[in-house]
């Protein structure tokens, strides 16, 4: 990936260094300000707590509580329940998403599909729709009275407590299935023809070839998308926030991210909000590490 540079006159060296600094400086300055500093500040905030004394009239004082906020957050049922929601969400969403996208990519790649360009574009189109708008469109498709499908399906309550998780999964699936499908399709197209020819010579049928030759060969792409899907799922916020307004199945702390938002703006507890943010970031880091590790080992 890296191009090797060759030895050069030492007099030129400081100029080159200046240029490098100019090229990477702006990015890293912003990186420090917008990613590193907030994370550090969140860590700092998470170590303190506001203890109000008396009636709370200007009597709030900031006390160092060490890991207290983390323990409080982790002990808060509302927070941990959010992870259960995410877990349930992932158990539905990831197999549907990866299976669906992979299935569609294999269908397109099977040599039997017509109008491949059209299908790619049509399947990708929802991804162009911003998340909030996608949420709003589906909100109306779930809303009794306006929705054309609620009556069709005999009055299903898409927004009820038991169904709303599936309704959120559906919105995410709609937004992302075409995106992942395009990634898989591109990876499939890059498989050398000789490999597929060899499989055919060995007598493998289309389905056999797809499952035992093509899928293993695009493993890298699949792992990358699983990784990003998990990180995205952890951050689940927009779609449930949009549905929150009309669904009694969604509470204000439904997902960990909604919990953090609610701690900061509902309860004005910045320490707890900071702790929740850091726990979320750490979890994302750990999961990414595990998924990449596991992916590279196979």
């Amino acid at each position: 990936m890296t191009a090797d540079t060759q030895a050069r006159a030492p007099g030129e060296d400081w100029r080159r260094r200046g240029a490098i600094l100019l090229f990477v400086g702006p990015f890293f300055a912003l990186f420090a300000a917008v990613i590193v500093a907030p994370l550090a500040y969140a860590v700092y905030l998470s170590l303190f707590s506001e203890k109000s004394s008396g009636l709370g009239f200007g009597g709030a004082e900031t006390v160092f509580v060490g890991l207290g906020n983390y323990l409080d957050t982790l002990a808060d049922r509302a927070f941990t329940d959010g992870f259960l929601i995410i877990l349930g969400y992932c158990l539905f969403y990831i197999p549907l998403m990866i299976g669906g996208a992979l299935g569609l990519a294999l269908l397109l790649d099977s040599g039997l599909a017509r109008a491949k360009k059209f299908f790619q574009l049509a399947l990708f189109m929802p991804h162009i729709v911003p998340g909030v708008i996608a949420g709003l469109i589906w909100l109306y498709l779930y809303l009794p009275g306006i929705s054309p499908i609620v009556d069709l399906l005999g009055g299903v309550n898409f927004l009820g407590g038991d169904q709303v998780l599936g309704s959120v999964v559906n919105i995410a699936l709609w937004e992302w299935v075409g995106y992942n499908m395009i990634i898989y399709f591109a990876a499939l197209q890059a498989i050398p023809a000789e490999v597929l020819e060899a499989a055919r010579m060995d007598g493998a049928g289309a389905i056999r070839t797809a499952l035992s030759v093509k899928v293993p060969l695009i493993r890298g792409a699949v792992i990358t998308t699983v990784l990003f899907t998990i990180i995205g799922s952890l951050q689940l916020f927009t779609e449930p926030m949009v549905l929150d307004n009309v669904s009694d199945g969604i509470v204000s702390t439904w997902t960990p991210n909604m919990y953090a938002y609610n701690e900061a703006f509902g309860n004005n507890d910045y320490g707890q909000a900071g702790a929740a943010s850091i726990i979320l970031a750490l979890l994302a880091a750990v999961l990414s590490y595990v998924v990449t590790r596991w992916g590279n080992r196979r």
Partner: protein, 277 residues
Amino acid sequence: MKWMSRATVNVLLIVATLYTLLPLTWLLFASTKSLSDLYSTPGFAFGDFNLIANIRAVSAENGGIFFRWYLNSVLYAGVGAAVSSFITVMCGYAFDKYQWFGKEKMFGLVLLGVLVPTTATALPLYLLASKVGVVNTFWAVFIPVLVHPFGVYLARVLSSGYVPMEVLEAARSDGAGEIRTFTRVALPMLMPAYVTIFLFQFTAIWNNFFLPLVMLNDQRLYPLSLGLFTWEKQGNAFPEFHSLVITGSLLSVVPLLVVFMSLQRFWKAGMTAGSVK
């Protein structure tokens, strides 16, 4: 047997396409209806043609604030993506074409940045911004979105593909300095990479919801999605807002669809370069 499997493949693809396209088709139908038709006519049929009146209602609401939101989104996403893509491409180019002490460590930091959930930084960023006193300003939403670690990764990959080292050496032996070599020789060759990263950034910023939600109080600074979200919240009490949200959603989606369809080549290149390494 052969024609059957061909039929099966295509039927399955058509079913999937119906799933992706029908909600958008519904939006198109719904935005042509008056509020009462919205409730009384079938979802995929026309009522009285009311689209123009709906658009008028959207434009009239709250002194034409919808178009203000539109302009904001274009500024946040358009200008933001233009600036950030330049910063990103420049940085990725340096990672690809130069050597320096600790380079790969720094690149590791960039990759780590890709994995940091943006929502985890949004809240602390709000708290920092309120210390500095820039909360509820244009910059509070504009500046944070300029950082795009994944773009740096992408730019490094694309730079090694698009810009041959020999061309740079030739420019240098012609006496061009490093900066001149970049702006005059490398940057034109990196244009496809720039457009690809621009599109990535543009969608990311246009889609951004958490950050503006946290940072902004002033409705006049809202991007489109946040504005439509607040309208929808009023829909429970005032059903006419449902109409406004539906027509507003259509108006905000159509230009995006047009832009993306015309620039397909670029976003496909970016998606594949990013994952099939």
